[in-house]
Symmetry: C2
Subunit: 383 residues, 2 copies
């Protein structure tokens, strides 16, 4: 730990930074060219061609047939769930270990979050616990998964690829199929991450990405819906553009709609950024190796490696305590905090947030452990 801290302090001083953030995007003069083109064209809003161009590039990069960009990842989850048929009164499974946006998006759809546990190695949904839980607590009726207790339909599950590390997505998909549950893959943090050679976000019925300012590729704010189904893609595009029908001049909207399209200005930045994504990922792998050497042989903690058969984008580097301890975790966080190096624990498990305690959950022993074990440390490409 001391060697790592020393290195980060050295970097902070060499880069002349007042504080070292967790993750800064690599924004450089290279990005100016695309933006300048946009400014010169005058098309900064949602009518420009760059949105289409950006979507095509993401489609190639992720190997998703259809890509619909959105103003952010939250909007993508909101609409994604709608595409999967999530309606008022439905239940949606999601890991307690994840960003709050997923729970919010379920509630936007007037559905109910229902928390599941995560596995201890890479913090994705635990397939074994999921299987056992569904077996015990649900039955299939009319091709739908029914919660025995509430009699409500469990319509979908959200799988999060945490910090850029793929969850055990193949196993989870198998279970979800058996139980007639649709899968939304939250790959917000995982652009460029692959599970057995296939880009994440492509395993489930719908995938989503985020291009927020803290992500590996940024558009300022932005996100995307990934899918391989032409009908769903068309529906997504309709919903995010206020459900407006095509007409020479009339304003006809045929459903409740959303103003969720990415602006051209933001897409232009994305086009420039995504050209460098493989370079970014390479750098992040190097950072992992460097940091790993610096904390070698620590008795208390280790640096998280990518899962077997996976390529992680290593968006955030993660220290894992060998034994769960809020005391040790906070001690380390405090050391970083005092040195103006941003470190943070994993998100507070969602089932513990005051407005979410009322929702259903399985036993969340792993989530409780994970909360006490994780520290993310600065991970920007310039390190």
């Amino acid at each position: 730990m001391q060697k790592l801290l020393k290195y980060l302090l050295y970097k902070k001083s060499a880069l002349k930074k007042n504080f070292l953030p967790l993750h800064e995007p690599d924004i450089s003069k290279l990005d100016q060219k695309e933006i300048t083109k946009i400014i010169n064209s005058g098309f900064v809003s949602s009518v420009g061609k760059d949105i289409q161009r950006f979507e095509n590039i993401i489609s190639k990069f992720t190997n998703s047939k259809f890509v619909i960009t959105t103003i952010n990842g939250t909007a993508a989850i909101h609409i994604g769930l709608k595409l999967l048929g999530v309606k008022k009164g439905d239940e949606v499974l999601l890991p307690s270990i994840g960003f709050v946006a997923a729970a919010n998006a379920i509630i936007y759809n007037n559905a109910e979050p229902h928390f599941v546990d995560s596995e201890l190695n890479h913090f994705g949904v635990d397939p074994d616990k999921l299987k056992e839980y569904l077996k015990k607590n649900t039955y299939i009726s009319n091709n739908k998964c029914i919660n025995k207790k509430t009699k409500k339909i469990i319509k979908a599950i959200i799988i999060v690829h945490v910090f850029g590390h793929p969850a055990k997505i193949s196993e989870i998909i198998k279970i979800a199929k058996k139980y007639k549950i649709k899968v939304l893959e939250d790959a917000a943090e995982s652009l460029g991450s692959k599970y057995k050679g296939k880009h994440v976000g492509n395993f489930g019925d719908i995938g989503i990405l985020s291009f927020n300012g803290n992500k590996i590729v940024t558009t300022g704010s932005g996100g995307a819906i990934l899918c391989n189904n032409r009908y769903l893609a068309k529906k997504a595009r309709h919903l995010v553009t206020t459900s407006k029908l095509k007409h020479k001049w009339e304003f006809i909207h045929d459903d409740v709609g959303y103003n969720y399209r990415l602006a051209n200005l933001n897409a232009a930045l994305g086009i420039s950024q995504i050209k460098r994504v493989n370079k970014f990922i390479k750098k992040k792998h190097e950072i992992y190796k460097r940091f790993n050497k610096l904390i070698d042989n620590s008795k208390d903690l280790f640096l998280l490696n990518q899962p077997k058969s996976c390529r992680s984008n290593f968006w955030l580097q993660t220290l894992v305590l060998k034994k769960p301890s809020v005391h040790l975790r906070n001690k380390i966080l405090t050391i970083f905090y005092k040195k103006k190096i941003l470190a943070r624990p994993i998100w507070k498990p969602l089932h513990k947030l005051s407005f979410l305690t009322k929702y259903q959950k399985m036993s969340l022993k792993n989530a409780e452990q994970i909360e006490k074990k994780i520290i993310n440390i600065p991970s920007s490409c310039y390190l």
Copy 2:
């Protein structure tokens, strides 16, 4: 009409445009400076200082004490209604003559749209009809306005300043106060418009702006909540930043929240744009005068001037048929369409959209007339 059409065709050809859009923002090399600064600083997302700077400039320009920027105007209405206490099962009055976003935002809050009529001169909510309707159809109980028929609370009214022309806001506010109804002023199209010397958006309990690409000042996509109440402003800022509490490192959210903050990249464009807003408005007044001369003495139609005691920003220039006629309206629209000059009717009255027909409404005779009388024509500053 012929003279006006000739002028627009001349402009289209002089500007070497394939088609003449309804409204294009004035994006120029002047905007590059601010954007380049942002790119060089690396802070393109929601952590940069430009958001605060942009909010301060809008605050000064509109004379609103508090300004909270958002990703778009729809998000601003969504949160604005929440600030006014709009909840599941409440009713919210809104004009049938307006953009669909207002109705959607009511539905996002699980409340019910309830349509009111507009006045024939400038298409804002008709205060006389509103007064009569409330008198007949509501009563006050416990300081709340109750719909006699449904027994539901009419919590708020949305007032739209259509095409940049102020509605009869003072009269409406008086009625709303009497009936204990909160007022959200939708000034999405009306940055720079004033009613008796006071900037619109400042009369109601909450105001909103839009900086979409088709507006007088653009941020690519963007919007703002205006208010003069410190408590509501604080609540707005909390809600649009995922309801996250301040903490050294913990992620604690105390309520359902939204990812609605404007990104720094977009704020930078706004800062550069808003410096020129008075110039834009001056140009738009000149365009009004020029167009007005070109259609002088038409027996069928006239060009809409600003209301008495108001300064409109003249965002969109508006032809008004002297007698309602869909036939004549469509004939004119077709002429423009064939010449690749974009013209459009006013929005289809919202109560006629299939997904909104089920909601309550007063008699909407004026709205039906307005639909048959209005043609917006190209209005960009370069004309």
